[in-house]
């Protein structure tokens, strides 16, 4: 019953909504195209595109209501910051055009749906009320077009017929409503195929970045702590030989070995912190970032608003995005200050690292590519923007908590 109720509400509302979106879009597009020659049209068209996103979002909720399950959205993430970057991506995105198709065909289909719903229920209820109707009208009888009801006996037949019509109206209107909603979902939600392609791409990226990370760790171990331990063992071996014959030299060798051991310890500590910092597991993202910020050579203003612990994968990805971004700031930007902002909104974690340096970050560089792969593996997005002055890195991560 609830499904029928939702389907009919959807059908009835589709008509006025379709009329409104159709009128708005046709007017806005005509105006924009017409004025395009004198440039005023271009911002109008851009505004229409933005408005279509809002309308599509509203429609997704309406379709989701009819189907009793949420309709996901899937747009391409802009590669560049700013309105122009957004527009460029939006225009190239098939999802934008599918949204527009839905918003335009909603009016004709809405009229059909509205008619089906109104006439099915109207006919059924009207027939049910036929005896009362006949009694009220009296002598000339009720004119039903093809049929004419002249006697009360004839009017009583209206009740069973009306019941049959109403019984049929339930599957008919429900089918029409769900059919229309399914068409809406096909146009408004990302296609399965696209999702599969996206998943294949991000999985390959995650595997690549993991392999690169393992290689880096192997190299660091080989060149760092391992080499130091070899030197230390050699020093100790030589000291052992000289212990009796030349105690002074032996003492110097032991002191050297002691130094190498301490340096190896400190290198191993840095390395394991880089793999996964203990404080992130123990205390979560806020304290871990505050510890990183305190170590950073460039002054960092931290603005982290988190009430609860997040899923470990989200915390780790967010942490490494910030660490890599801060390392880049310190190494390349020449900035004096930078700022880290993290906000948790419902099921998204939004993260922003900005500096006041010279800019010039290369989004295709190894570091940023690795980060993007790490973020995309979690279905997140990462964007790099030149802010004049400085660079801003924005990432958004899903966190179901």
């Amino acid at each position: 019953m609830a499904a029928t109720w939702r389907a009919n509400t959807f059908l009835l509302v589709s008509f006025p909504v379709g009329l409104a979106t159709f009128t708005f879009l046709v007017t806005a597009i005509a105006l924009g195209v017409g004025l395009a020659i004198i440039w005023v049209g271009v911002p109008i068209l851009a505004g229409t595109l933005v408005a279509s996103r809002w309308l599509a979002r509203f429609e997704r909720r309406r379709v989701g209501f009819a189907l009793a399950e949420p309709v996901p959205s899937g747009y391409r993430a802009p590669q560049r910051r700013g309105m122009l970057g957004w527009l460029r991506t939006a225009i190239g995105d098939a999802a934008t055009w599918k949204d527009l198709v839905w918003l335009l065909i909603l009016m004709p289909l809405g009229i059909v749906g509205f008619t089906i719903s109104i006439s099915a229920w109207g006919t059924g209820l009207g027939l049910l009320a036929l005896p009362a109707w006949y009694s009220a009208v009296g002598d000339p009888g009720v004119d039903l077009g093809a049929l004419r009801v002249d006697t009360l006996d004839e009017a009583w037949i209206g009740i069973p017929v009306g019941l049959v019509v109403l019984t049929l109206a339930v599957p008919l209107t429900r089918g029409a409503g769900i059919g229309l909603a399914l068409l809406g979902r096909a146009l408004l939600a990302p296609s399965e195929r696209r999702r599969v392609v996206e998943l294949e791409r991000t999985r390959a990226g995650a595997v690549d970045s993991q392999a690169a990370e393992l290689q880096r760790i192997e190299r660091d171990l080989h060149d760092g702590a391992q080499a130091r331990l070899v030197a230390l063992a050699m020093d100790l071996g030589m000291a052992q030989e000289k212990l009796d014959s030349d105690p002074v030299a032996a003492r110097a060798l032991v002191a050297g070995a002691h130094g190498e051991a301490k340096r190896a310890l400190s290198e191993l500590r840095d390395l394991s912190r880089g793999i996964y910092p203990a404080i992130l597991t123990d205390r979560g993202l806020g304290p871990a970032l505050s510890s990183i910020a305190a170590r950073n050579p460039v002054e960092v203003a931290l603005d982290v608003k988190l009430d609860d612990r997040l899923p470990a994968a989200t915390e780790a990805a967010a942490y490494f995005v910030v660490v890599e971004a801060l390392t880049n700031v310190a190494k390349h930007s020449g900035a004096d200050h930078c700022r880290v902002r993290i906000v948790h909104r419902r099921d998204r974690l939004q993260l922003e690292v900005s500096d006041d340096g010279d800019g010039g970050a290369d989004p295709a560089g190894a570091g940023l590519t690795g980060l993007r792969q790490r973020v995309e593996a979690l279905d997140g997005t990462l964007a790099v923007a030149e802010a004049h002055p400085g660079t801003t890195i924005r990432a958004e991560l899903p966190c179901a908590s």
Binding site: A261, K262, A278, I279, D282, R283, S290, A293, E299
Partner: protein
């Protein structure tokens, strides 16, 4: 000195026992997890406990939590925490409890035996031993335009060593200058940061750390 050691890795537990045993200290208990540490402190009432941060069963900051609990059960027990990493937020937890006799050092510091034993003795006597890395983190966090910017480089060094818990004599030895010069610097630091002067080492550390951590 009677010592309790809590460390889950056998190699390090025995190493520490040997190192302290060599000095003639008595290892009254050497345990390998948090609950056993609390129990050992309650039972033996040691002069100091040397505790690894990461202990079973949770393998997170079990050591700190066990230490805090033990100090609630036997107030005033001096405790020195050793950790693979030092983090300022752990240090704040440790200092939040009342009373002196706390230390928080990187595990690596054990390699410098003489300094390590000095830190232990300081903590056992009710003093403080903060790892230079913690102090560096605290100093790194501060806005460099505040009163800290008014300190001379020498005064900054003195401030950092005070935050580690060193006495005037200790600071003098470290920097190679006379105690009276140190006293002058300390006075200047307190005036510039607007802190209440204090002769007692532990209170002084708390004031400095509170200032840096605020």
């Amino acid at each position: 000195m009677r010592v309790v050691i809590a460390e889950d890795l056998t190699l390090l537990r025995e190493g520490l026992s040997r190192l302290l045993g060599d000095r003639g200290w008595e290892i009254v208990a050497a345990v390998d997890d948090g609950p056993k540490l609390v129990q050992a402190i309650v039972e033996h009432r040691p002069d100091i406990a040397v505790v690894d941060v990461r202990l079973p069963p949770s393998f997170t900051d079990e050591g700190i939590r066990a230490a805090i609990e033990a100090r609630e059960r036997v107030p005033g027990t001096p405790i020195l925490i050793l950790s693979q990493y030092v983090e300022e937020s752990y240090a704040s937890d440790l200092l939040a409890g009342a009373g002196g006799g706390v230390g928080y050092l990187l595990k690596d510091r054990v390699a410098d035996v003489r300094q390590f034993v000095e830190s232990l003795e300081r903590v056992a006597a009710g003093g403080t031993a903060m790892d230079p890395e913690v102090v560096a983190q605290l100093l790194g966090r501060r806005d460099n335009r505040g009163p800290l910017a008014e300190l001379t480089p020498r005064e900054r060094e003195v401030l950092a060593l005070m935050a580690e818990g060193r006495s005037n004599t200790g600071i003098g030895v470290e920097l190679g200058i006379s105690s009276s010069a140190i006293e002058k610097h300390v006075k200047q630091v307190f005036i510039k940061l607007d802190l209440p002067p204090s002769d007692e080492d532990h209170r002084r550390v708390l004031a400095v750390l509170a200032y840096l951590g605020s």
